[in-house]
Symmetry: C2
Subunit: 168 residues, 2 copies
DNA sequence: TTCCAATATCGTAATCATTCCTAAAGACGA
DNA sequence: TCGTCTTTAGGAATGATTACGATATTGGAA
C-alpha cells in the first residue's frame, strides 16, 4: 500500500509533475477502479482519504493525466466525461441507445497495430476496438416494444436518463 | 436532388419516424459532410435551406438518429459532441493532446468482427478501431518544447483551444 | 379531400458539468 | 531554506445541452 503511493509518485515525477498527495491519491483511486468514473465520482472516493480535496483539483488533475496519456476519456459522452484508467489492454462495447460503455477483453484485438497510413496523421500510441450495438437491457426493451410486428405506431426510444448508465 | 430528399424521407419512415423537412434536410446535410460536425455546425449549414430551423430540433434529431444507429458520436469529447455520418467503414485516429479526430481507411480492420464474449453484453452492430496518439501538429509542438533534453521544467500541455480541432 | 390525434418544431429559459478567478496557504524539490 | 508550483475556498462565469409551453405539421382514417 505504502509502496503503491511511491509508485505513483514516481510516475508523476517521470512526467515532470510534482508528486502531490492529491495527484498520487487520484492516480491510486483511478487504478483501483475498473469502472469508468466521472470527475465527481473520483472526487467522492478520494475524499475518503483526503477530506479536503476540491473538485477543481480533480478536474485539473484528470485533464493533466489525460494530456500525459496516462488515462483516456471514454464514451463520446454528451453529459459528463468519463475516464478509463484501466492499464490492461481491453476494448469497449458502446450502446448506441443508452450510451453505456462496457469493457471486454479480446486477445485477437490486443494484437492489432496501427496501419502504415496513420503515420501521415501522427504518432500512434494505442489501438483499441470499439463495438457498437444495443446492450442487453436496451435490446430487451426493443423486443418488448415491438414483440413480433414491425411498428407499434408510436413511442420511439425516449432516450432519457443517459446518466449513470455507464458501467465497467 | 429532389430524389435525394425522397430517399431520406423513406429512411425516416423506415425507422418509424415522421419525415419532416427538418429531418430530411439534416440527414442530407450529414450525408454530404464527411467531417465530424457538431450540432451547431449542422444547424448553421441546414439553415441555408431552412432558415427557421431551431437548434433544439437539430439536437433532438441528432439524438434520434444516433439512437436509431444511423449516425454515431465520435471523439470521446468533453466540450461538444461531434457526429459521424460517414457510412463507409473507416476508423479513427484521436489525438490525446488536442482531441482532434481524423478518419483513416484500413481494409484489415474492416474485416474485424465482434468476439463471442460480447454476446453477454449485448447485440453488436458495428466494429471500429480507435487509434490514439499525438497528431502531427502536437507531436511537432512536443519536439519543439523539449528538443533533446527531457523536461523544460514547466509548461505542461496547456490543453486549451480544444474546439474546432476536429477534422475529417 | 378533409379531419384528427400524435408528434415535431420554435423560441426561449433553465440546467448543469466544467472551467476560471483571486488570494492565501501549503508543499515539493533542489 | 527558498522559490515555485499546487491546492484550497468559494464563488462566479461559461457554454453546450435540454426542458417547456404554445403552435404547426404529419400520416392515416373517414
Amino acid at each position: 500500500m505504502a509502496e503503491r503511493a511511491a509508485v505513483y509518485s514516481e510516475r508523476c515525477r517521470g512526467h515532470g509533475l510534482r508528486a502531490t498527495p492529491q495527484r498520487v491519491e487520484i492516480c491510486r483511486e483511478l487504478a483501483r477502479m475498473h469502472e469508468h468514473p466521472d470527475a465527481e465520482t473520483v472526487c467522492r472516493r478520494v475524499r475518503r482519504r483526503l477530506p479536503g480535496l476540491s473538485l477543481d483539483t480533480v478536474y485539473r488533475t484528470l485533464k493533466t493525466l489525460e494530456a500525459e496519456g496516462v488515462i483516456r476519456r471514454v464514451g463520446s459522452g454528451g453529459d459528463r466525461v468519463r475516464f478509463d484508467a484501466n492499464l490492461e489492454r481491453h476494448h469497449h462495447f458502446i450502446c448506441s441507445r443508452c450510451g453505456a460503455v462496457h469493457d471486454f477483453p479480446c486477445k485477437a484485438f490486443d494484437r492489432l497495430t496501427a496501419p502504415r497510413n496513420v503515420k501521415a496523421i501522427g504518432v500512434a500510441h494505442t489501438v483499441n476496438v470499439e463495438v457498437r450495438g444495443l446492450c442487453a437491457a436496451c435490446a430487451a426493451a426493443e423486443r418488448q416494444r415491438a414483440p413480433a410486428s414491425r411498428r407499434p405506431r408510436s413511442a420511439a426510444g425516449k432516450t432519457r436518463n443517459r446518466r449513470d448508465l455507464t458501467t465497467g
